[in-house]
């Protein structure tokens, strides 16, 4: 595996091309969001906006559609906090006390693998019965539950990586179990907590099917709103693009902070990266 300068520059070129190819759709989405309607509906299409203008975004704010991004933010944030707390303490029990053995752990992660559509249908009927359709708490509970397996699974791995001696000495020093958890364990795994939380947030943020079924008006999240612009009299490209951009930028910011944890996060902890 010697380094050959020639191949490095060729590889660099290939990497450049490949990256351009993968980024082009995202570029196109952003480009459309800045185009005027005339320009969007020009054929052949223009490859970059003639001028940057923000009208497509203003319309979303003016008509109140942008509220759906706020809904996404609220629902994703609260459900992330809940899932992180309940999930981490549960993971602690699984990691340190082997509660339920491996069966319980496997059952928990398996809950994440079931197709949402199969769960969401009976849950919809339940939510109708409870009057929880189109409510914040209904959707938050759903996302919390949906994310718990992930949090538990990930945090179990992070906790197992922490040497147990610190906790032992804290216990000997007279700390209660809760104090150990909060004062010793949480700080030790704070990187893991942070990384897991961001992924949890992204899952809730990007979800479509739960929100499609469980929301109507008040709680509509941004991915559902994007699909509202399809196929009425036409596809409202400007709105589709602008709304998608609004919903995508926060994710990109999250990714920028996440670099170090990406691999472990998306591989369900299988790769410690």
């Amino acid at each position: 595996m010697r380094q050959r300068p020639m191949t490095t520059s060729l590889r660099f070129l290939a990497a450049l091309l490949l990256t351009a190819l993968f980024l082009f759709p995202i570029y196109w989405l952003f480009a459309i969001s800045f185009k005027t309607p005339e320009e969007i509906f020009s054929s052949p299409p223009t490859w970059y906006p003639a001028q940057i203008q923000f009208d497509n975004f203003f319309v979303l704010f003016k008509d109140g559609d942008a509220v759906t991004v706020g809904n996404s933010l609220f629902v994703a944030t609260v459900s992330t906090l809940l899932a992180m707390f309940f999930g981490t303490i549960c993971a602690y029990s699984l990691a340190r006390f082997k509660t339920g053995g491996s069966n319980l752990a496997v059952w928990i992660i398996s809950q994440r693998m079931i197709p949402p559509i199969a769960i969401v249908f009976p849950l919809f009927l339940l939510y109708v019965f409870l009057g929880w359709v189109d409510t914040y708490h209904g959707l938050i509970l759903l996302y919390t539950a949906f994310n718990l397996p992930y949090v538990i699974w990930m945090m179990r791995g992070y906790i197992e990586d922490v040497p147990v001696e610190l906790e032992e000495s804290a216990l000997i020093d007279g700390c209660s179990r809760w104090q150990v958890l909060i004062k010793v364990v949480f700080p030790m795994v704070r990187n893991g907590l942070f990384a897991t939380a961001v992924f949890t947030f992204v899952f809730a943020w990007n979800d479509f099917i739960f929100a499609l079924v469980m929301t109507r008006t008040d709680v509509t999240t941004y991915p559902v709103q994007v699909t509202h612009y399809f196929g009425a009299q036409s596809n409202f490209w400007a709105k589709i693009a602008a709304m998608s951009v609004l919903g995508t930028v926060p994710i990109f910011i999250a990714v920028a902070f996440l670099q170090r944890y990406l691999v472990r996060g998306i591989s369900l902890g299988a790769v410690k990266g």
Partner: protein, 485 residues
């Protein structure tokens, strides 16, 4: 405008007097018209918010930009517009009814859904409100086709017809009247070049223009997306003499030779339309026509207004490409002369709304003679004339040079037009046709597609109950506008 207002005032006064005299209702003093009565009564709900379901996109510009803000200004009641794509509206409304959150107050419903929504209990009967707020009289001035077919279910009022939808043929007068074209066409086909009265003529004219002008101008272009495709099929199938069912057995007969001919014809027509027409929706067809790329198109009434350049300087219409053919647009009924009264909208109230009274008052105001006259003339309106007065309004007639031809064509179509098929669970039957349309553009064999579609219709009929469905079908088929006379 002024003329009509005076008229309305008089009529409102009369109605008010009569009702007061009868002592059935006590009306607020000096509230003369349906619109004003609604405004007066709604002031008690100032500060509250009502939610109305509207078709996503262009349709929603009316409540978002005009009627919503205006209602708030007049009464203090806020209007929140929920935009839902047409193909999802029925499902969403019924889902919402099932979910029972009371999230929707007022509803835009396609009239063919009303029987199903009423049976499911999703729509509030409006008779009591109509009497309470003295609106019966104004309902009578809605054009008969819409009034008689799009307002009631089993004799009770569930929706106010609010949109005179139908398909109109728009054509390029300059190309049709060009002497050279006329001569060549006559020589080739033996009849005068004029708006087609049969689908065969439509194809011949389309072909003629395409072979002469393409790729600069194509003979025709139409929206082809499944939601529209199924409506186009319904119209053309009946124009060619097709019946949807055998009334004796209730077996679907859409797969007979007429159905196959229509499907084959629809696909063959694509050959003289611009490449890729299969993907077209409303806006694609519109922009192509306005850009002068197609000589004929069939669509809803707004095409005619925008093609004539009416109102397109509005900011809300900035997305509409500038019309290059403003003074060259001719209007005619589509081949057969019996246009599909495609979709249309009626305004209703959701039965589980938490604020039915306020929702009702809003729709009465929207639908009233005064407000509707303004709404159908909004430059960006997708609401089309549906009251007698709309077709004859002096101001409307003077909106652009050919507006009188336009309104006359609409008026004629409103009389001869064909109702959308309405049965029990209509949406499921339509869904079958929508899927069939996608398969048609995918290139499958027409007979195979229609056999499958007919089998699916039969399966639906069996599940719903043959006798129950026959009853519903016979009710529908007995209406004068179900099949061409």
């Amino acid at each position: 405008m002024r003329l009509v207002e005076a008229n309305t005032v008089l009529r409102g006064l009369c109605a008010g007097l009569v009702l007061t005299a009868l002592g059935t209702v006590s009306l607020p003093a000096f509230a003369e018209s349906g619109a004003q009565r609604a405004v007066e009564a709604a002031k008690q709900y100032a500060g509250e918010e009502i939610t109305i379901v509207w078709e996503a996109g262009l349709q929603s510009l009316d409540p978002l930009n005009y009627s919503g803000p205006k209602w708030e200004e007049l009464t203090g009641v806020k209007v929140k517009v929920i935009e839902v794509p047409t193909a999802e509206m029925f499902t969403k409304i019924l889902q919402e009814h099932r979910a029972g959150t009371g999230a929707y107050d007022a509803l835009n419903v396609v009239p063919t859904w009303m029987p199903d929504l009423v049976r499911a209990g999703a729509l509030e009967p409006l008779d009591a409100y109509v009497d309470k707020y003295g609106y019966r009289e104004e309902l009578q001035s809605i054009a008969p086709t819409y009034r008689d077919n799009q307002m009631t279910v089993d004799g009770k009022i569930y929706g106010f017809p609010d949109d005179g939808d139908l398909f109109i043929l728009y054509y390029r007068k300059d190309l049709f009247e060009d002497p050279e074209n006329q001569k060549e066409f006559k020589a080739k086909f033996g009849y005068d070049l004029a708006p087609p009265s049969t689908w065969e003529q439509y194809a011949e004219i389309g072909d003629f223009i395409t072979s002469k002008y393409a790729p600069k101008v194509y003979g025709a272009g139409q929206f082809r997306q499944p939601a529209y495709g199924q409506l186009l099929f319904q119209e053309r199938f009946r124009v060619e003499g097709g019946k949807f069912f055998d009334p004796a057995t209730m077996k679907a007969t859409i797969n007979n030779e007429i159905g196959v001919k229509v499907f084959d014809g629809m696909r063959a027509d694509n050959a003289f339309m611009p490449p890729g027409v299969e993907t077209w929706g409303f806006v694609e067809a519109l922009s192509s026509f306005l850009a002068g790329e197609i000589a004929m198109t069939i669509s809803w009434p707004p095409f005619g207004r925008w093609a004539a350049g009416y109102g397109v300087e509005e900011e809300a219409l900035s997305w509409v490409p500038k019309s290059t053919i403003a003074d060259k647009v001719g209007y005619a009924l589509p081949p057969g002369g019996t246009p599909q009264l495609a979709l249309g909208f009626s305004l209703g109230v959701a039965s589980n709304s938490k604020n039915k009274e306020a929702a009702y008052l809003f729709i009465q105001w929207l639908n009233s003679e005064e407000t509707s006259l303004a709404r159908v003339q909004l430059p960006y309106a997708l609401r089309d004339p549906f009251r007698e007065a709309h077709f004859t309004d002096a101001e409307y007639l003077s909106r652009w040079p050919d507006a009188k031809d336009y309104l006359a064509t609409l008026r004629a179509g409103a009389d001869s037009g064909l109702l959308d098929l309405s049965l029990l669970q209509t949406d499921k039957y339509e869904e079958v046709l929508r899927q069939a349309t996608t398969r048609l553009w995918a290139g499958e064999d027409s007979q195979t597609i229609l056999n499958d579609a007919a089998a699916q219709w039969d399966a639906l009929t069996d599940r719903i109950g043959v006798d129950k469905q026959r009853q519903a079908y016979e009710d529908w088929a007995s209406k004068p506008n179900a099949y061409p006379k």
